[in-house]
Structure formats: structure tokens, C-alpha cells
């Protein structure tokens, strides 16, 4: 199952190394990690998307993260109402005619062209990972020269419904 886990961590040097090293050593399967500043100075926020076999392994993951001295809080937000976003930059082959065609494809995704050269254009897309995924697969036939994704960053929505029916593990 796919889970989204967030952690707030004390921004000490080596903290990222310590955490990713632990995840690697204990054989957790990480799909993406994103790290950046949070609302508090000196505290960073990490978002992990992980592929996990079962609940016992999931419990181990959150416990092992919590055990790290620099980790302040760990939350498994998979089953909460959340906003989850990722950014991708996609450089595709395209000149002349094709450009208009590509433009037509990306518009419904609210993606934009942020760089153009003689024979390529670079598209920026932000959204839920499934949306990013969909756009990538539509652009594949045109020839993707370069692709970079930031990994998901996520947090809870301002309001949590009494019961969340939709499981994010299916949708993200």
C-alpha cells in the first residue's frame, strides 16, 4: 500500500542523511521525499511517499522516524483530508506545428510553457501526482528529452470531515 507520511524535523546538519540512511538500512521503499522550510524557523518539513507491505511495517516506519532525535513529529496523513502537490518540469521535443498541438494537450492540466528553444519546449505542471502522471504519459509520444519531479509535498486540509471516505492511497 502507498502511504503519505509527513515529519517535522529539527534542521540540524546531517539530519537528512540520518533519516534517509535509516530508511535505506531498514529496507523501506521510498517513492519520493521532499524537504523544505516550514512555518517555524529552524524546523523543516519532510513528506515521504512510501510503498509499504503491511501495517506492521508501517508502524515500524513511523516508530523508527519518531525515534530519531531530531524528529519532532510524524504523521501518517494517508487517510486524512489532505492537499498533496508535486511539481514537474518536462522538456519535450517540439517545433513548428507540434507546439500548438502540445499546447492543446497541456491546457486542461493548467500546465504552462516556461521555456522554448528551437527544437524543444519546457512545461511546468503542478498538481496531485496522478495528474502529473497523466500529463507525462500524454507527452511521452512527442519525445521527452528531460524530466524532473520534486516529489510530493502535502499537509492536512484546514477542515477535516467527520469521516474520510476516499482513501488517498488510491488517488495519489
Amino acid at each position: 500500500m502507498r502511504r503519505i507520511i509527513t515529519a517535522t524535523v529539527q534542521n540540524r546538519s546531517g539530519v537528512l542523511n540520518r533519516i534517509t540512511g535509516m530508511l535505506y538500512r531498514r529496507q523501506f521503499n521510498i517513492e519520493s521525499i521532499s524537504v523544505g522550510a516550514s512555518e517555524t524557523e529552524g524546523v523543516s518539513k519532510m513528506t515521504f511517499v512510501v510503498e509499504i507491505e503491511d501495517h506492521q511495517k508501517l508502524e515500524q516506519l513511523t516508530k523508527q522516524l519518531n525515534k530519531q532525535i531530531d524528529v519532532l513529529k510524524v504523521s501518517d496523513i494517508t487517510e486524512k483530508a489532505i492537499v498533496a502537490r508535486e511539481l514537474a518540469l518536462i522538456k519535450v521535443v517540439g517545433s513548428g506545428q507540434l507546439r500548438a498541438e502540445i499546447q492543446g494537450i497541456i491546457t486542461p492540466f493548467r500546465a504552462s510553457v516556461i521555456d522554448v528553444s528551437r527544437d524543444s519546449l519546457t512545461i511546468q505542471v503542478t498538481g496531485r501526482p496522478d495528474k502529473v502522471e497523466a500529463l507525462i504519459s500524454l507527452l511521452k509520444p512527442y519525445g521527452i528529452k528531460e524530466l524532473t519531479r520534486t516529489g510530493v509535498t502535502a499537509f492536512l486540509r484546514g477542515q477535516q470531515p467527520a469521516q474520510v471516505t476516499e482513501l488517498n492511497s488510491f488517488t495519489i
Binding site: 524535523v9 535509516m22 515500524q60 525515534k67
Partner: protein, 573 residues
């Protein structure tokens, strides 16, 4: 003291080096013994040690691995953090085995490594090693000091982290420019660790649950691990077991947490544990694990581990609960606090029927056994003699191998902190240097180091230290001219293909000891053992005894690899 007040008082403070600041921080941490080895990057620290009249003793090992194992032995026996200093590069990398050992066995060790100057870190400078990178996975925490102002705080934090919660090693990497920096700064060592708040007190709800389970259990069992020793919880453990009439099995590292001679003691469980202890785990309906981590050498094949039991687990480290064995009643707490809470409940012992009689039958009918050999020395008998002649009161350190298992089986302990062995990592070379630390930590006690002829050769250079510091450590070499444990596995599982496990050459251990100025003895016949051991154990000073034992001896009983805890081989009626 308030910072301002301190500032005012010390406004006329003279310039001191960063290393002097470190020494003050060590004094503040009440360090009495340091195990170390100098080198370029720690010269400022060693100069400060030379100039200082701080009330600690520095013990110069002959290899950094000797320093850290000594610190581990010291920590095991005293319960206080062991302190190590090593230089950058090779000095630091020589510590890696010991740091990993301390991590696996949860020993509080604070390690100071020198580092090249900040300005050249990352340039592959002479004797530069990525100590932070190397030690991250093998430490509870690590630091590189980049600002002298932080040093006292870092040291204080390090001692706190190493010795609280689940103990573990902490490394502080100090670049040379920091230790040699002159400063008259005033330091604030106040720290907060919002992400590190070990929970000592048990959740009362969980205690109630456990008490209810106890009351219902027909076949309850305690498994006591090293967590009981770290928490200084032996007394409440005894009271708890006695109040509820609970049989107690120990893990290898938990030996001594419960008296070996107690009528409720089943001895050690696990790969080379007693039949009774292992069958008790197999048959119990309530297993109360106190401070053990369900290591694979204890559990055997997990599919057959405690199949009938409801599992309760008391541990200060939540991540250990449910890691290997599904646990119905988790109790995150210090063992002592949890046991006291359990003793304070109104719970009554349940009706256990004939459970204890049943286990007593196992104990009686399937005891530990060995064959005595005619004239020659069987190693198990040798350990029994050591036990007898030391009244079972020695502090015993071991190396790793057959002799270690025999020591665990045939040297029962009545008290905690007297059993010093490498459990999780199984580090050959551990036993002898650990005895040095143990003896320094407990100068009045008889320290016996039971080692193999293989492992002793990994770290015997520390004989110099024993001589230099006049430490009356008694080394008993269980000499089977072999890497006995390897030989045993090859005998049992590789059709006696003794690949690289039999020694063709060994040093003359008596002459070797002589050359260090240490009294060496040899014993080859069973009949001479009592007299030689008597002389050795009462000798006023260090002794090395080369005990020639029968090579073709195996450690039994045994759970073969992949087998369940109920499938022991080598069990005899």
C-alpha cells in the same frame, strides 16, 4: 548559574583553548575514566589533558578498538557512560567495530574523535575521514562541532542522549581548529531537545491490561533482558516474579538481572538456552517481555515463537515493540517504573495449576549436560570450576564463540552488572579489553575474562595496559586450538569440512604473557585445574591462564538455524 552572573564573575577570564573547554565539560559530566589514543588531530586535547589536573584518569590503549571495548566494559559494570578519545581518520575508523557493538547492545558511550581543521574538511586532507557519514548509522546521535561556543552544550547533550532512554553511543567530532582555538568566551551549556523525550512512566491503562492478563493467565512467563539491568530494576523484578509466582527466563544480555539460583529462574533462553526456558516460551499463554528485543538468536524461527502466548512487552524504546513479534500489550516505559506500577496494582496471581511443576519437570529431566573427558579438560567443566572457585561472585567478561556460550550456561549470576559480553554484534576481540574497563570501573572486584584462543589474538596487545595500570584481571583462555564455534557449525552443518577453522599455530601464551611482564600459566590436565585456577584467581596481579581443552566439543543444546524454539537438538535426559 545565570549567564549574566557568570559573565560578570568571569570577566577577567584568561584565554584558554577549545580543548581546555572540553576538559571542563568532561569534569562537569563527572567523568572519572577516559579510554583513548592520541594523534595529530587530537594533540590539542592531549596537551590539555597533560596540563590539566582534572580528576580523571586517562587509559592509553594499544589499539583504538581496545579503548572502545574497555569503555563498553566500564559502562556495563558501572552503568555510567564510557568515554573514548581517538584521533581523526584511522583513529576514528578503528573505533567503528566498537561503536557498532555499543549501538547493538545499547551501551552509553561518548566518543570524541579529532577531525582535520574546518578549512580543509572535504578536501581529502591528511587523515581526514567522513566520521559523520561513517558513524551516522551506528550511533544514537552524532555531532560535528563547528563553533567553539557550542562545545559545552554539545558535550552535555551528548552525555544526556547516551545515558537516558535506551542508551547508546554518541560521537562528537571535533575539528582541530576548534580544539586549538583560543578564547575567553563564556559558555552557556543549556540545551533543549524537543524531539527527544523518552517516556519513563507507563500508561496506567496498559498496566491495568497487563495486570488483568496476569490474573487470567494459566501459564505466564517473564522474559527478562538487558533493559532490566539498564533500568536498575532487578529488585522490583524479583518482587514482581515472587508476588505473582512467575517463572523467569533470561536473554543472553539479561543474565544477572534475575538471580540464577532463584527457584523461579529457568536460566537462559534462545539458541543455546536451557530446554526448560525454551519450552516455557513455546508453551506459555502469557509472555511478559521486559527490556528484551526479541533478537533472532533468542526467538529462533518466528513462526514457532510463543505460538500460544499473548505477548506483553515493556520497553523504553517504542520501536522495539512489535518489531519482530506481534504484541497485544505494549508498555512503553522504563522497566523499573513499569514493574513498580505492576506491583502497586491490586492484581492477584491467577490460578496456574501445575504450570510451574511442569516446568520443574523439564528442568529436572532435561538439564544442561556435557561429557567429561578422561584426564583432559572439558571446557564446560572448566567454567564450572571457575564459577566454584570464584564463589560465583566474579565480574565475568567474555569474547565471542563457544567459550562465551559455555560461560553463559555454566557461570550463573546472582546480581546484575557482572556479566559483560558482546551480544548483538558478536564481536570477537571484545572480551579482554572489556575486562580492563570493567576492572577500572570496579577496582575492588574480581574480574575474570573468559576468552577463546582465536578472539584473544585479536586484541591481546592490551596486555600492556593491564601491566601498566597494574590491573589484576584474570584471563582464562579456553584454548581449543580452533575457531571453535565455526568448527562446530562446520561439524554440524557442513559435514565436518573444517575450512579455515583449526589453528595449526598458536603463540605460546605463557611466554607471550611473560614478555609483557605478566604471570602466565598453562594447564593441560583436568586434575591440575583446581590448583592452577585457585592460584590464578587469588594471585595478586594480572594472570593469563592457557587452558588446553578438548577441541571436539560442541555447545548444546541448540536451536539449529531456521528451527523453532521447541526443536532443540542435543537435549539429553
Amino acid at each position: 548559574m545565570k549567564v549574566e552572573a557568570k559573565q560578570e564573575m568571569e570577566s577577567t577570564k584568561k584565554l584558554v583553548t577549545g580543548a581546555d573547554v572540553l576538559i571542563d565539560a568532561l569534569v562537569e559530566a563527572k567523568v572519572d575514566t577516559i579510554f583513548g589514543y592520541p594523534g595529530g588531530a587530537v594533540l590539542p586535547i592531549y596537551d590539555a589533558i597533560y596540563r590539566s589536573n582534572a580528576p580523571f584518569e586517562h587509559v592509553l590503549s594499544r589499539h583504538e578498538q581496545g579503548s572502545i571495548h574497555a569503555a563498553e566494559g566500564y559502562a556495563r559494570v558501572t552503568g555510567k557512560p564510557g568515554v573514548v578519545i581517538a584521533t581523526s581518520g584511522p583513529g576514528a575508523t578503528n573505533l567503528v567495530t566498537g561503536i557498532t557493538d555499543a549501538m547493538m547492545d545499547s551501551l552509553p558511550i561518548v566518543i570524541f574523535t579529532g577531525q582535520v581543521a574546518n578549512s580543509v574538511i572535504g578536501t581529502d586532507a591528511f587523515q581526514e575521514a567522513d566520521v559523520m557519514g561513517i558513524t551516522t548509522p551506528i550511533t544514537k546521535y552524532n555531532y560535528q562541532v563547528t563553533d567553539l561556543l557550542e562545545l559545552p552544550k554539545v558535550v552535555k547533550e551528548a552525555f544526556h542522549i547516551a545515558s537516558t532512554g535506551r542508551p547508546g553511543p554518541v560521537v562528537i567530532d571535533i575539528p582541530k581548529n576548534i580544539s586549538s582555538q583560543l578564547s575567553d568566551a563564556v559558555y552557556d551549556d543549556h540545551f533543549i531537545l524537543p524531539g527527544y523525550q523518552p517516556n519513563k512512566k507507563p500508561n496506567p491503562l496498559q498496566i491495568t491490561k497487563l495486570a488483568e492478563a496476569l490474573n487470567k493467565a494459566k501459564r505466564p512467563l517473564i522474559l527478562a533482558g538487558a533493559g532490566v539491568v539498564f533500568a536498575k530494576a532487578s529488585e522490583p523484578l524479583i518482587a514482581f516474579a515472587e508476588k505473582f509466582k512467575l517463572p523467569v527466563a533470561n536473554t543472553l544480555l539479561g543474565l544477572g538481572s534475575f538471580p540464577g539460583s532463584h527457584e523461579l529462574s529457568l536460566g537462559m533462553a534462545g539458541m543455546h538456552g536451557t530446554y526448560a526456558a525454551n519450552m516455557a516460551i513455546y508453551e506459555c499463554d502469557l509472555l511478559i517481555n521486559i527490556g528484551a528485543r526479541f533478537d533472532d538468536r533468542l526467538t529462533g524461527n518466528l513462526n514457532h515463537f510463543a505460538p500460544a502466548a499473548k505477548v506483553a512487552h515493556i520497553d523504553i524504546d517504542p520501536a522495539e515493540i512489535g518489531k519482530n513479534v506481534p504484541t497485544e500489550i505494549p508498555v512503553v516505559a522504563d522497566a523499573k517504573e513499569a514493574l513498580q506500577a505492576l506491583l502497586n496494582t491490586s492484581a492477584e496471581p491467577g490460578d496456574q495449576g501445575s504450570w510451574r511443576d511442569h516446568l520443574a519437570t523439564y528442568q529436572r529431566e532435561y538439564p544442561l549436560w556435557y561429557d567429561r573427558s578422561e584426564g583432559f579438560i572439558s571446557p564446560q567443566w572448566l567454567i564450572e570450576q571457575v564459577h566454584k572457585l570464584s564463589n560465583g561472585e566474579a565480574i565475568v567478561t567474555t569474547d565471542v564463540g563457544q567459550h562465551q556460550m559455555w560461560a553463559a550456561q555454566y557461570y550463573p549470576f546472582e546480581k546484575p552488572n557482572r556479566w559483560v559480553t558482546s551480544g548483538g554484534l558478536g564481536t570477537m576481540g571484545f572480551g579482554f579489553p572489556a575486562a580492563i574497563g570493567a576492572q577500572l570501573g570496579a577496582p575492588e572486584e574480581l574480574v575474570v575474562s573468559i576468552v577463546g584462543d582465536g578472539g584473544f589474538q585479536m586484541t591481546f596487545q592490551e596486555l600492556s595496559v593491564v601491566k601498566e595500570k597494574s590491573l589484576p584481571v584474570k584471563v582464562i583462555i579456553v584454548n581449543n586450538q580452533a575457531l571453535g564455534m565455526v568448527r562446530q557449525w562446520q561439524e554440524s552443518f557442513y559435514e565436518k569440512r573444517y575450512s579455515e577453522s583449526l589453528f595449526m599455530e598458536n603463540p605460546d601464551f605463557v611466554k607471550l604473557s611473560d614478555s609483557y611482564g605478566i604471570h602466565g600459566m598453562r594447564v593441560e590436565k583436568e586434575k591440575d585445574v583446581p590448583q592452577v585456577l585457585q592460584e590464578a584467581l587469588t594471585y595478586d596481579g594480572p594472570v593469563v591462564v592457557d587452558c588446553r581443552v578438548v577441541q571436539e566439543t560442541s555447545v548444546y543444546p541448540m536451536i539449529a538455524p531456521g528451527k523453532g524454539i521447541h526443536e532443540m537438538i542435543g537435549v539429553r535426559k
